[in-house]
Point group: C2
Chain length 205, copies 2
């Protein structure tokens, strides 16, 4: 039985690092931003454009006022957005059918539901997420105050929620959609990735 692990995560919760370390510990493939890179190869759209659309719902990108003013143009972008999601889903299915993998975000838990992946959700308290963001010193937040970082975290999570809810008709971050929800507020990600490895190995012996 293939090891397929999907990880969704709040921004700043350490979900990406946990996923990457888990994949390394298990010696299996890891997909996060790699999905955007692959889609760039497969489409005629620029990487920047695909990045801008990544994990955003069409409704978030094109609010109703824009739609009313530029009806035709909006349809163009909306269609592109839906096409990109279709391509993303196709690619994610291809990966999971081929090999053991950890896939981060992008509704992978929902897209792969027939393969019964281990669906993990990572979350943390706001102060812990702000602290982790500052430690990581991400390019786009390094000059921000704590208040501004919190605003950014809420914005990214709202986009992820809209994206997930739009394509799955389920509620992002609702624990009923996951097998395991991990609060990383007081957790060392490196240590926890080792534990998760053991857990995965006992589920897929």
């Amino acid at each position: 039985m293939k090891k397929i692990i999907t990880i969704d995560r709040e921004f700043g919760s350490g979900g990406r690092e946990l996923g990457r370390r888990l994949a390394e510990n298990l010696g299996i493939s890891y997909y996060d931003h790699e999905i955007v890179t692959e889609l760039t190869k497969r489409s005629d759209l620029a990487e920047e454009y695909l990045e801008h659309m990544d994990e955003k719902s069409p409704t978030a990108l094109f609010p109703i006022t824009v739609a009313m003013t530029f009806g035709m143009q909006n349809n163009y972008h909306m269609e592109k957005q839906l096409a990109v999601y279709t391509q993303t889903a196709k690619f994610i299915k291809e990966i999971a059918q081929k090999k053991d993998c950890v896939i981060v975000g992008r509704c992978a838990d929902y897209i792969l539901k027939d393969l019964k992946p281990l669906r993990i959700f990572i979350y943390a308290k706001m102060d812990s997420k702000i602290k982790r963001c500052k430690e990581k010193n991400y390019q786009d937040i390094k000059d921000l105050t704590d208040k501004q970082i919190e605003k950014k975290i809420r914005l990214v999570d709202r986009e992820r929620r809209d994206y997930y809810n739009f394509y799955t008709n389920l509620e992002w971050s609702d624990k009923t959609n996951y097998d395991l929800c991990i609060n990383t507020s007081h957790v060392d990600i490196k240590d926890f990735a080792l534990l998760l490895k053991k857990l995965v190995e006992s589920i897929y012996p």
Copy 2:
């Protein structure tokens, strides 16, 4: 550092069994119904009366119509109820200060928050909970249909929710109040209890 683990759980999710097995695996004390037994020793109330009040909020036991009709009498029960909670909290604190333990339900995660317990919440899909209830063949559900068992599960969980929300002012089952939320729909409780042991040992080396 003491190993203190609190487990809250949906009815039928296997949370109690998981807690008991975890305590056995770790060789530490386990408290669930044992708390009611201890309170019986400490108070002049009958065990049946304490059992009836166990994990129920005063508002659930005495709806507003009763309160209006039997004002004085209702106050008597309400006071008893609050006194029992106070005794429960006192006993839970005594246990946790004395020894390593697993404590199930009864707002233990909140009561012990200063001791930073590992707070676990156990949940599952409804069909899995009905199945588990039937396998366990509990006395009070053994002649019920699936529909009736589902009703019973919802009732017990509503009581637990009311109890938790009343005494903590937090939302029962909301993942932000726990460190780990485990969906047992597809889990073998015995295997998972062994994994949890490893996790606890890595957190409290």
